[in-house]
């Protein structure tokens, strides 16, 4: 569904992604992990077209995304911190997003209903609390039934009830065969939501396989210690990083 074919990106002198190769397939849910500055945000932004790689290409549904914007109608993106025009009302924000995808007529209103966003549709975005804004972001990401969902720290800032609603929604979508990319610092969430782990270290894929094989490879029973072990390995092999994959 998404193939990242050897992209490199430098910010100034810092090389954030180095000949980065990875592909994401339909029906899987990927946990994208890595220490701060490892390149995961750059990867997500590259897929979204917000960061333009220096070299290499990204294919979404077999088409290069370079110079294209229509592919983004099949992506639902939930930013880490959603900031919206202060004076825009919630209802207007939704109609604007719908305006931008005039070809899509079937809306997924699950989250809108579950978060009861209709009740606040006349409130200005500027008056909403951080958690409510996250609810709006989540609802918008799922609204258009996208084939690909990119969720950046989806549970941060949400109250426990909303977290549960969102999680079950993500799981439903995954079962429905969507491609889901999630970043999060909360490992338990990732374990619940994903079946595939991608660990990025210093601009390269350090680990990319199912969570089962991760546990197997690290000989750990649980997800968190498995990740911790992975991190220790990266520290040891800092000088010579290489890719670990299930043979």
């Amino acid at each position: 569904m998404i193939s990242v074919n050897g992209i490199s990106k430098k910010f100034g002198k810092q090389e954030v992604l180095k000949d980065f190769k990875l592909s994401f397939d339909t029906g899987n849910s990927y946990a994208i992990m890595g220490p701060n500055g490892s390149g995961k945000t750059t990867l997500i932004k590259s897929i979204l077209g917000m960061v333009l790689p220096d070299s290499g290409e990204i294919l979404v549904k077999g088409q290069s995304i370079k110079g294209s914007e229509s592919y983004r109608s099949s992506i639902g993106y939930m930013p880490q911190i959603g900031r919206y025009p202060q004076n825009m009302k919630v209802g207007q924000l939704f109609s604007m997003m719908k305006d931008m995808r005039p070809e899509i007529k079937n809306y997924d209103m699950d989250l809108v209903e579950a978060f009861e966003l209709n009740k606040i549709k006349d409130k200005s975005m500027g008056t909403l609390s951080g958690g409510t804004v996250q609810k709006v972001s989540a609802a918008l990401a799922f609204l258009f039934n996208p084939e690909i969902l990119i969720l950046d720290e989806p549970t941060a800032g949400l109250d426990p009830i909303a977290v549960e609603i969102l999680k079950s929604k993500i799981q439903r979508e995954r079962k429905a065969g969507k491609l889901i990319l999630v970043t999060s610092h909360i490992l338990s969430d990732l374990e619940e939501l994903t079946n595939h782990a991608v660990y990025i270290f210093e601009g390269k894929v350090f680990f990319n396989d199912t969570i089962e094989s991760l546990k197997e490879m690290t000989s750990e029973e649980k997800f968190s210690p498995a990740i911790a072990k992975l991190m220790q390995w990266t520290l040891k092999k800092k000088s010579t990083t290489y890719e670990l994959t299930h043979a």
Partner: protein, 255 residues
């Protein structure tokens, strides 16, 4: 594009700033109308505001607005819309808001108390200068990744065009006082949108008689079709170039 513009414009017009700016301009205009008894004095006083305040506010506001909307711009970029459309909708929203503030803030008092061709020119110059300095501000914004730095660059451009450049001109005129300078000064005027706007305004008022030979030369130039065409074209270039470069940078920029 129009959809994006509609929403961006809606947001910006409802902002407190749009209202404060309009009211501020209206208060200035009203007090000037109250104090001065004839239209040419009103024009002159309003012109001073236009030349100094409007570029300053345009530059600072546009930069602030760009950075305050950066996350929203990023959100837009993740949607299936063209980058250029995202940029242009933001740009036009800012220019439209600044222009509407001028048209209402200055225009309503004019409707109430009368106007002449010089005041119409004044409104046009105000709108043009707003567009020019919004362009500078957006260019400064896309070239930097830091709001403070961008505001710094915008302010520097404002100071350059409204103060430093004229000092430089004065120095040149002073150094070459023995040579005929009319054509040279005309050229220098073209290289600064603020000066060009100011001279266009002055030419509308019959105070150009006070400007001696240089004034007469300018008057002749700016009242010819060719002169007006060149002045209009130059102003159009001043509006287009910063915005065009800002757009180019925006299309290649990482967010």
């Amino acid at each position: 594009m129009l959809k994006l513009l509609k929403y961006a414009l809606y947001d910006i017009l409802k902002s407190r700033f749009a209202i404060i700016y309009t009211v501020f301009l209206a208060l200035v205009a009203i007090s000037i109308y109250q104090v001065s008894d004839d239209l040419s004095k009103v024009s002159l006083s309003l012109m001073n505001i236009m030349i100094m305040i409007v570029p300053l506010i345009s530059a600072v506001f546009a930069t602030t607005h760009f950075y305050n909307n950066l996350e929203f711009i990023e959100l837009m970029l993740a949607q299936p819309v063209k980058r250029s459309q995202v940029f242009l909708s933001q740009l036009f929203a800012v220019i439209l808001m600044l222009s509407l503030s001028i048209l209402f803030g200055f225009g309503l008092p004019m409707l109430l108390w009368g106007a002449d061709s010089s005041l119409i020119t004044l409104l046009a110059v105000g709108v043009i200068l707003s567009a020019v300095f919004t362009g500078f501000a957006f260019l400064a914004s896309v070239l930097t990744r830091d709001k403070a730095k961008a505001i710094g660059i915008s302010l520097a451009l404002w100071i350059y065009f409204s103060l430093v450049y004229d000092g430089f001109v004065l120095y040149i005129i002073y150094s070459f006082a023995d040579y005929p300078l009319e054509k040279a000064t005309l050229g220098l005027v073209m290289l600064n949108p603020v000066d060009l706007g100011r001279i266009l305004m002055l030419m509308q008022l019959d105070i150009s008689a006070l400007m001696g030979y240089t004034g007469a030369f300018f008057q002749k130039f700016f009242s010819s079709n060719m002169g007006l065409f060149i002045a209009g074209g130059t102003l159009a270039l001043w509006m287009l170039f910063p915005n065009f470069f800002a757009l180019r940078v925006f299309r290649k920029r990482d967010f």
